[in-house]
């Protein structure tokens, strides 16, 4: 069994020590554990984020495997349970709070109250807009990162990080809607997830 001290030392040797300390104290919330959310969560845990709150109401399906972090063994499980299991295999010392619930404008302030950064990782445009509006209206002190436009087979270089206000950053190509194109691929979704995780870090 690996001890927390051994783990910290190994991670520490690959990162800047003062930054690693900051990361261990950081608390990040992820709304939605699909293609964006599951991959962002893995990147953040590997980067040393100490506290993660994840929320989703969905279960893992076969159609998710092409781009989400899950494997066949997770099919039928609640996404937050499957994701917690994977994340604890990456870093057993990361403190994970899982909410198996649908996030609404009414409950988001409570679910993410302890998080300094909130990441919007939904798939439906109405839900994305709902959360961005709710967080900015109810919790204007939070940093918010939103994903917008990563479907299809377009250029990887079209996906960018845009700082919209002091608190809001939007990552994606901004235009490619899954309703208009075929395909949502692991590569492009992970590029967008990487932009979002990198912004959080």
């Amino acid at each position: 069994m690996i001890t927390e001290a051994e783990f910290a030392e190994a991670v520490d040797s690959r990162s800047d020590r003062p930054i690693y300390g900051l990361m261990k104290r950081a608390s990040v919330g992820i709304a939605g554990c699909g293609g964006l959310g599951s991959n962002i969560a893995a990147a953040l845990v590997r980067s040393g984020v100490g506290h993660l709150t994840i929320a989703d109401f969905d279960t893992v399906e076969l159609s998710n495997i092409n781009r989400q972090l899950y494997t066949l063994s997770h099919i039928g499980k609640a996404k937050v349970d499957a994701l917690s299991e994977i994340l604890s295999q990456i870093d057993p010392f990361c403190d994970i709070t899982a909410h198996n619930t649908r996030i609404t404008a009414e409950n988001c302030a409570e679910i993410f109250s302890d998080c300094g950064i909130i990441i919007e990782a939904f798939d439906l445009p109405d839900q994305k807009a709902m959360l961005v509006n709710a967080v900015m209206e109810q919790m204007p002190e939070k940093y918010l990162i939103s994903g917008n436009g990563m479907a299809g087979y377009g250029s990887a270089n079209a996906i960018v990080t845009r700082k919209i206000t002091d608190k809001l950053t939007v990552c994606g190509d901004g235009i490619t809607d899954i309703a208009d194109v075929t395909g949502l691929t692991a590569a492009r979704v992970m590029i967008c997830a990487g932009h979002m995780a990198s912004r959080a870090v």
Partner: protein, 63 residues
């Protein structure tokens, strides 16, 4: 003059609702920032004022 997504526009006496319609954007899929602040949906009937810096995000599906 109003700045919309970085571009100066002459949009005198236009409400946010009218502006979104002219851009073919559905209000339930948008977030509208004026300066550093979100504009609550209840205020979409607000008329844009001279000098407003407006940033409109039209959300698309996929995630």
């Amino acid at each position: 003059m109003v700045i919309i997504n970085g571009e100066p526009k002459d949009t005198a006496s236009v409400t946010v609702t009218e502006l979104l319609a002219s851009m073919n954007l559905r209000p339930e899929r948008t977030a509208v920032m004026i300066g550093n602040d979100i504009l609550p949906k209840a205020q979409y009937d607000r008329v844009l004022a001279d000098g407003d810096e407006v940033e409109i995000i039209g959300f698309v599906g996929g995630g």
